[in-house]
């Protein structure tokens, strides 16, 4: 029984990480269907940026988010206007988005390799350290912080999407782009904002991530894949889905990893992902028919 509890807790904490880093992708891919294969590499850059600011300013790692979040917001805006905006007018927008962002991913990975080298790094916070022990279960404080941040961020983003004008406009664009345009919504502007906000969320996620996961230039692909799976399993366009999906993947991974070993657990997550994609394309917590309406 204790073992089961320990595995579930470990899974939830790992799942919190997945949930946190998937929120940015939910906004971009889930809400607006902009495909970004550079998502994981953005996270990787945010992780490296955290090391850099710690090194230069002597901040605590947590405080580095003061730098990463605004910087990512600005970079997101620039990238949107330089790259993403142009893919909409291509003859095949999906193809253009996939391969422009794959190009971006290769570029970011190798620039990081060139500048920072291939060393594996990990950050540590001076404020949040150690772990909390409850009974036999040990929980790292930083992972608890990440889990809490995922929930808080999820609530904030949901409030933003449902309560503010900009958020409502975003959902309107996601649901019916023609009708949204006819209602006088500047679609390009909305896309730009969404991309920038989602990049800012990635910046925060990357800073927190750098304190619990190892970072190296090619780590991004792993995170991209995990995030796409989280978003699809949870249900496209659903913030709640992304968080629950992340937690589910974490628990499943921890459980199967304990029972059958780490390679099998990764494979099992892929199988769940494929099964959800084939059997319930709207995702576990997404609205039925949402995808079909969009795909048409």
């Amino acid at each position: 029984m204790d073992m089961v509890a320990a595995i579930v807790v470990a899974g939830l904490l790992q799942g919190g990480i997945y949930a946190l880093i998937s929120i940015g992708l939910t906004l971009m891919f889930g809400v607006l269907r902009v495909v970004n294969f550079g998502h994981g590499d953005f996270l990787m850059v945010a992780m490296y940026l955290t090391f850099l600011s710690v090194k230069f300013f002597g901040f605590d790692s947590l405080a580095a988010s003061i730098i990463t979040v605004p910087l990512f917001f600005i970079t997101g805006t620039i990238l949107y206007h330089l790259i993403i905006k142009r893919t909409f007018t291509a003859s095949d927008p999906l193809l253009a988005q996939v391969f422009a962002t794959v190009g971006l991913s290769i570029l970011l990975q190798n620039l990081t390799l060139l500048i920072a080298g291939a060393d594996v790094r990990q950050n540590e916070s001076q404020i949040i350290t150690g772990s909390i022990t409850m009974g036999d279960i040990r929980m790292e404080s930083i992972k608890i912080l990440i889990l809490c941040s995922a929930f808080v961020l999820g609530i904030l983003v949901s409030l933003f999407l449902y309560k503010t004008t900009l958020g409502k406009q975003m959902r309107a664009v996601a649901q019916n782009i023609t009708a949204a345009t006819l209602m006088g919504i500047n679609v390009q502007r909305i896309y730009g904002w969404t991309f920038a906000i989602s990049c800012a969320v990635i910046g925060l996620g990357g800073t927190l991530l750098s304190m619990t996961e190892l970072s190296y230039p090619t780590v991004g692909l792993k995170f991209s894949l995990i995030c796409f799976m989280t978003v699809v399993i949870g249900g496209l366009g659903s913030i709640r889905g992304a968080i629950l999906g992340g937690l589910l993947i974490g628990v499943v991974e921890a459980g199967t990893s304990y029972l059958f070993g780490p390679i099998f657990s990764q494979a099992f997550v892929y199988v769940i992902f494929l099964a959800v994609l084939l059997l319930r394309p709207a995702g576990l917590f997404g609205q039925e028919g949402y995808l079909e309406a969009k795909a048409e």
Partner: protein
């Protein structure tokens, strides 16, 4: 028919032909092994790109998982050779057969998925197979990989110099090209393009769109697997990171994007332009500036997608018609 006129008239095709005639002469009689090495890589990637083009370019199904078939081909022949001493030629056929079978399975199960969902599914399947190659150590030797023994003879598809590999790779490209050209210019080619451009209309006209897509996926998978076998024989080594690397899928797509997707000459032009460039950048900058060559490559990819979204082949054909 448009393809045929493009094939005989356009300047890019002429360029491709000149490149390959001189390249073939050099590959056959030359002695500089570095140039031969570049030619062999160009041929292998061109062949894989032509195979990818069949499903992605003509059938409109944007696969990001062709590494799966490449890895299956590389591993099947290598395992049969290492464990049972079966000639890689038979291993190549076995790999093509298994890849075709897996291809049918994948296409049949994902046939309902459109657009990015199909891409994500194929991506995940390729990663899944890569994990299998890592985990099933009795069969694949896991991350340590399989080192093939060096026994130079035609039967073992192993040669002391690069000329033999060159001819095999050339044969591979010719096979891919002929197969694609035959399909594309047949009735089925028009069915494929029809369902790619107007799925509903094609269905209404009575085209069995699902079957057509599955068969094209199967042929593409088999050809890609052959490329994998040749690659493994050329390197005499295979591990999960080589066989099931996600960049194999990206590379195939990239060559088609540059040359022009859904055109016969597209992947060939892409191969001629990109693979030598990649090798040269790699050898010039590889040592002291690790990462710079692929960074340039990534930047190039973004530029091409944004500035030349239909590739070079389609640009020349557009100039011709207007």
């Amino acid at each position: 028919m448009n393809n045929l006129s493009l094939l005989t008239q356009s300047k890019t095709t002429l360029f491709a032909i000149v490149f390959w005639v001189t390249g073939s002469l050099y590959g056959a009689f030359g002695t500089n092994s570095i140039i031969q090495d570049v030619l062999i890589f160009t041929l292998i990637w061109t062949g894989v790109a032509i195979s990818w083009n069949l499903t992605a370019g003509y059938a409109g199904r944007l696969s990001l998982g062709h590494a799966a078939y490449f890895g299956i081909g590389a591993y099947t022949s290598s395992i049969l050779y290492m464990k049972f001493g079966i000639s890689p030629w038979i291993g190549a056929a076995a790999g093509m057969f298994i890849a075709a079978f897996v291809g049918v399975l994948i296409e049949a199960t994902t046939i309902r998925l459109l657009g990015i969902y199909y891409s994500l599914a194929t991506f995940a399947i390729a990663e899944l197979l890569g994990l299998m190659a890592r985990g099933w150590t009795e069969l694949t030797n896991g991350m340590a990989g399989l080192t093939l023994p060096f026994k130079a003879s035609l039967i073992h598809m192993t040669f002391t110099n690069k000329t033999g590999y060159f001819f095999i790779a050339l044969g591979f490209v010719l096979l891919c090209f002929t197969t694609t050209a035959l399909i594309v210019n047949s009735r089925y080619g028009f069915y494929l393009k029809a369902q790619r451009d107007e799925l509903v209309a094609a269905k209404a006209l009575g085209i069995a769109t699902n079957q057509i897509c599955i068969v094209s996926g199967m042929i593409s998978a088999a050809l890609t697997a052959l490329g994998g076998t040749i690659y493994a024989q050329y390197l005499l080594y295979i591990d999960p990171d080589i066989g099931f690397n996600w960049y194999i899928s990206v590379q195939a797509a990239l060559l088609c994007l540059i040359g022009g997707m859904g055109t016969l000459v597209g992947p060939i032009i892409g191969g001629i332009l990109l693979v030598p460039l990649e090798r040269v950048l790699h050898s010039l900058l590889g040592g002291s500036y690790g990462g710079l060559a692929p960074a340039i490559y990534g930047g190039l990819l973004i530029m091409i997608v944004l500035l030349m979204p239909k590739g070079i082949a389609s640009m020349t054909s557009k100039i011709k018609t207007t």
